[in-house]
Amino acid sequence: MKAKLLGILLIGFLAGTAAGTFFNYDISNFFIAAIAFFLVMSVATKKWIHIFVSLAAIFIFAGFEMGCNAANFKIKSEPTSISGFIAKVDQNIYQKSINFYVKEKEKDSYLEVRTGKDVEYKVGDYVLISGNITAADLPKYKKDHIYYFVQYPEIRKIKKPNSGRYENFLVKKAILINRLNEYISDRISAVLPQPHAALSVGVLLGGSSAFSKDLSSKFSDTGITHILAVSGYNVMIIATVLFKFLKKKPQKIKIWGAIFGVWVFAVLTGMSASVVRASIMALVLIIAKLAGRDYYPFSSLMLTASIMVFLNPLILMYDLGFQLSFLAVLGIIYFGPLVGLMFKKRNIFTEIIIATISAQILTMPLIAYYFGKVSIVSFAANLLVLPAIPFLMLFSFITFAVYLVSPFLALGVGFFNWVLAEYVVKTILYLSSLPWAKVNIEFGFTALIVVYILLIDIKILSLRYAKKKKENLHDYYSLAG
């Protein structure tokens, strides 16, 4: 009950934030009024429903205020030069230019630089950028703290300047993660040909930029790009594998081991929204299990979303990865039991099928809205490809580990890796070659809202059927997506 009430309050907070970013209207007076109302109610009437309603108002207005402030934030100046260290490099070997991101010295803002490939730029290099720097006044950039853009500027590598402790820590962290990523992906790429190597590295560490334009578009046509952005699905795999691996160890080691492993993975893969979401939810799930409490996937999801939105309000409306990840989990929670009615038997395979289908029910309309296309083969592609991903992750890791011992042996182990990758690539190529693989559609914002309302209706109408035979998926599916 408590968990459910918290869930409702948090929906209020999220709805408030969404409205705030959208309407962008200052209502701090309402916020103060709501607090006053709450205080009066809790002293005067002491009826819990009154208190709850006024509390809900506080959550809604607080969200509204935050969303509003975040959307109103404007970048005031356009400097002529910026110096700092390179925090991230997008190395797409299939393109003629590269993008990298410079963290402004002692500030939490980034400059996106696009330039040619004549000089090699590495994460951790200190550079002085001067040129026609423009403010990136769009929320989708501001949410990542990218405040400035520049194209083909003058770039000078400079010596490491004197900087604070935190700044030094940040640069060291960025270098460590980047070099570790490179170390692993170089070893895997030495064994496997392309695109198999890119796929193996992609499912293990994320990174969809390592494919040619041609192949990338085929991934997107079959609705399978998400396997390359490390997502909750990978976190779920890692958490379950760690749990199995530590099976016989005492409870404490098992739990802390899993939490540690999941978070190391999250940091290593660059803390994308979906991984952070899954990692927080894994934490909640594990703590609930540890405390012997019931786990409420919905409340856990809302709590996670609220924490993330509280830290960065703009992701709610402008981070596609965040949105898809949450919709996928919502789909699994709410449509999982409904889809489950189609299957008599329950085993690992039917559960995967149920999770895959139910996750896509809610994500598909949003993808249609963003990209103007619906992948018809998406269900089939995901059903065929997703079960291979845990094995592909496993073999990619083994190939890397064996390579450290003997490159020759790695060539042997890598063959299994290659077969799996070949299977995934061939499946995608085949499905995308079907003439009806995808349909381009015009899908506006109104249509999007209508579709979601219809889906909610279906869910409500189906409640009475589903209740008779209530069989939820295993808790850990709420991590996937």
Partner: protein
């Protein structure tokens, strides 16, 4: 239960091992020439009957790696010969990625070097990996096997042209009596100078089918049965309508790599 699991795993492993061996034994023993789809640029792969791998040019990006991944078997990480027709980015950049990933035994280039950043990278990689480079000009012959050889028809020694394209290596590859003409980006001006030695069964149309790629005289000298144009999405208007018209007039069927790699077998 445990026993059953073990059985299943053994069967899977045996099946894979079987696949591995059979693909090795039954691997295509024909000669093959692949005109790779690498976007707007050139890259051709030759696999001789004895299994030697020759790569002519590497295209403008790393896309050639995905194509090599399709054409070469899993364990093959060696390229016997790389030929760089001329050091322009749309022929060279891909080779820099190839050199990092594959072991290249030998490189053949035309007479001229270049001072572009991509060519410097290329020189550095070759130095680092100790890849020997031979510069060839008109009159040389590359012998791959008893029935497979390449005649270098261009560039002439000490030939000087402002346009680097006209320094392209023009190579006539003879395999089992059939001739395949690789032209790089050489203009029709160059082809007309070479004359009757151009005669070939299959033609890679020069310079992505640009306006100055062919003339009626050059095409008559070559007299091919089939033409392949290496071209991708571009803003230069390649392939030019006039060239396609010329090919049509001479009743020569042509194929574009724009829609996927093109293959010839012998």
């Amino acid at each position: 239960m445990q026993k059953r699991k073990k059985k299943i795993y053994t069967i899977i492993i045996l099946l894979l091992a079987n696949l591995f061996l059979s693909s090795y034994i039954f691997f295509d023993k024909n000669g093959e020439i692949a005109f790779l789809n690498v976007g707007q640029g050139d890259s051709e792969l030759i696999r001789t009957k004895e299994g030697q791998i020759v790569l002519i040019d590497g295209g403008p990006t790393a896309q050639v790696l995905e194509e090599l991944g399709k054409e070469l078997p899993y364990w093959d990480k060696t390229i016997d010969l790389v030929i760089l027709s001329h050091p322009h980015a749309d022929h060279l950049v891909g080779l820099n990625y190839v050199a990092k990933k594959y072991k290249i035994k030998k490189v053949i280039e035309g007479s001229k070097a270049s001072d572009t950043p991509e060519y410097k990278t290329w020189q550095n990689i070759k130095k680092q990996k100790n890849i020997p480079t031979v510069r060839l000009s008109k009159g040389s012959r590359i012998i791959l096997s008893k029935n497979e050889s390449m005649d270098v028809l261009w560039p002439e020694k000490n030939y000087d042209d402002k346009d680097l394209n006209n320094d392209s290596l023009v190579i006539n590859f003879t395999a089992e009596g059939k001739k395949y003409l690789f032209t790089g980006d050489a203009g029709s001006k160059v082809l007309e100078k070479i004359g009757e030695k151009l005669k070939a069964d299959y033609l890679k149309v020069p310079h992505h089918g640009s306006k100055t790629a062919l003339t009626q005289k050059a095409l008559s000298d070559i007299n091919p049965k089939k033409a392949i144009i290496e071209v991708g999405e571009n803003s230069y208007g390649h392939p030019a309508q006039s060239i396609l018209g010329l090919l049509k007039k001479n009743r020569i069927p042509y194929f574009l790599t724009l829609n996927g790699s093109q293959f010839l077998y012998y």
